[in-house]
Symmetry: C2
Amino acid sequence: MRYKLTVCYDGSTYHGFQRQTNLITIQGEIEKALSSIFFEEIKIASAGRTDAMVHAVGQVIHFDSDKAIPKENLRRLINKHLYPHIYIKQVEYVDDTFHARISAKAKEYRYLVSLGEFDPFKARYMAFWKKNVDINAIKEGMKYFIGEHDFKTFSKNKKITDTVREISEFRLEQKDNLLTFIIIGDGFMHNMVRIMMGVLRRIGEGKLKPEKVIELLEGQNRRLAPYTENPSGLYLYKVYY
Amino acid sequence: MRYKLTVCYDGSTYHGFQRQTNLITIQGEIEKALSSIFFEEIKIASAGRTDAMVHAVGQVIHFDSDKAIPKENLRRLINKHLYPHIYIKQVEYVDDTFHARISAKAKEYRYLVSLGEFDPFKARYMAFWKKNVDINAIKEGMKYFIGEHDFKTFSKNKKITDTVREISEFRLEQKDNLLTFIIIGDGFMHNMVRIMMGVLRRIGEGKLKPEKVIELLEGQNRRLAPYTENPSGLYLYKVYY
């Protein structure tokens, strides 16, 4: 039997998603909970990893077991184990052609920014930018990211050979002091969104021109954009299948 | 020179306010920051201690030093040290008759409760109660706490001899699924608000009658109310001088 789980987590105190010996991670906690519920060693596959302090509203994982546990019972049991910082929103049975990562058609990330006064109760959940950033310049910069590009400049991982990705949507919603960046694409490399946000913040501060994005994409070299924005603002929001 | 600081903190990952050897506490972090700024050992006094995972919006502390540092500079310097979970809102110079605890006339605590679906992004900052709790019964129970009473039943600390306290205000505001309990009194003993909230939740669930509060106050015995509600909902909101 293959189980598909939709997972929400406050990543602020975890050492990222990926299992690590002796460190508390999202994957480690979920596998521990499932293994104790199923009485067997369960290994999960995820739609993608998230870095330390990065959150998820709709991460997706799958795993296999011979045991059939009713969906709502399983959901309740796991949530008891994972309380309070990881929360399973949905349990589904899927056929074994489904794979959390390989079947994913697109992913949506969101990045939250406050332009208001620093607030320690929001520090885990958003970045704080200067209140007078130029929103129009940021929006102009965002446009250059849309479409299919080689994102080599925007990848931390030097070993990846195929660095072409397609961004199908990239928009900015503003409500009072809160900026929500919404980005949908067919794939994101390690730190890609955070590097993009680092460039956009500097565009907003007038340190880079919006057209600089074109140059950075064409340059295909990480050293051109040595910026990695605060992980606290980043959410893996949804995985599209 | 005596300095007065108004302090805000997300207590969710600290071992409470009070300094403890080898554990990260609010007092420990603030004293470390101040000692490194003033180049001398600084010890602080606070309006009151808060438990592990309890927050503050307006905790007040004071300390002395021969060195005069301009208020806004000091605020900026400390906040760099304490970033991001502790935040100094205000720095004032006070004369040495001021004492953060002894001069306090009253304190306001707030307790936040969600009646909505569990949300891991709110878990550090509020309690989650069943959505169908009886708000009118809770409000009736709250009334019996107002005024001067012996709160011995509502104190964790058995050594305290004077357990009479006056609650001048206790009200409940509701906005959608969010309940905000606002309580102002001349003093609060260890766990007092959390024990009171434990009783009120049970009144809301129909497990205790509102008039039970009268009996608990008269009983003067902690064993009558062995309830300590979730610390995550509790905020030291303001200290009145």
